[in-house]
Symmetry: C2
């Protein structure tokens, strides 16, 4: 089952609709770090949560490098003060970006909706020859 505590790579793939290559690639880029049972990768809750953030970030047009830095926010290992402070300002920048993106998205949505309305009206008149 996909809600098992510990998942294999193929279970991950079907659960999140990604390829094994992608998962290994993310690992290589240090966005995730699954445990090993021998040579086999094992994914627990932490890695799954991270993967979701990765996939979401991608949908918003963030690069993997952007995402990698953000991911540290979601780990409690605040390490030292300086590190935490840096991560915080970085996260605030991202937040501002996302808020701006949201505002723009709203505009784009209403614009596109308008165009669609115009288009379908035009289609109407064209169809009644």
């Amino acid at each position: 089952m996909s809600n098992a505590e510990i998942m294999t790579i193929s279970e991950m793939c079907s659960a999140y609709d990604v390829t094994p290559r992608a998962l290994r690639f993310y690992e290589d880029k240090e966005l995730i770090a699954p445990e090993r049972r021998g040579t086999q990768r094992l994914y627990r809750h932490r890695e799954r949560a991270r993967l979701q953030l990765i996939l979401r970030g991608k949908r918003f047009g963030f690069s993997l490098e952007d995402i990698r830095q953000l991911l540290d926010m979601y780990d409690r290992e605040g390490s030292n003060v300086a590190q935490l402070a840096r991560t915080l300002t970085l996260a605030q920048d991202r937040l501002a970006q996302m808020q701006a993106q949201r505002a723009e998205l709203d505009i784009a949505i209403t614009e596109l909706q308008t165009e669609i309305d115009l288009g379908s009206a035009r289609l109407q008149t064209l169809e009644e020859k």
Copy 2:
């Protein structure tokens, strides 16, 4: 001035913060089609509007190919009925995507905000050694 009816490539570049290479690239991919005065490119309102849509689309993570298809919506040349109908369903798909993206973006924003709050609280306690 940047609000002149007709703009050169370098005016476009500083106005929209893109490189000439990018503009020529978009033209090559048929996302824009500036007129020519001799060999020189001239950009009017239509191309500027298109460029804005291109840049916006990119910020939302759409590919240039995605954007190219969408752009046809914003041109009144509906050509024939079949073409217009196809473009319309395509636009509706995009609209659905963008609405979904907006919902997800809202969630991501509040989540990130929460993490930031937690992080800065933690930073507080760490700083008062």
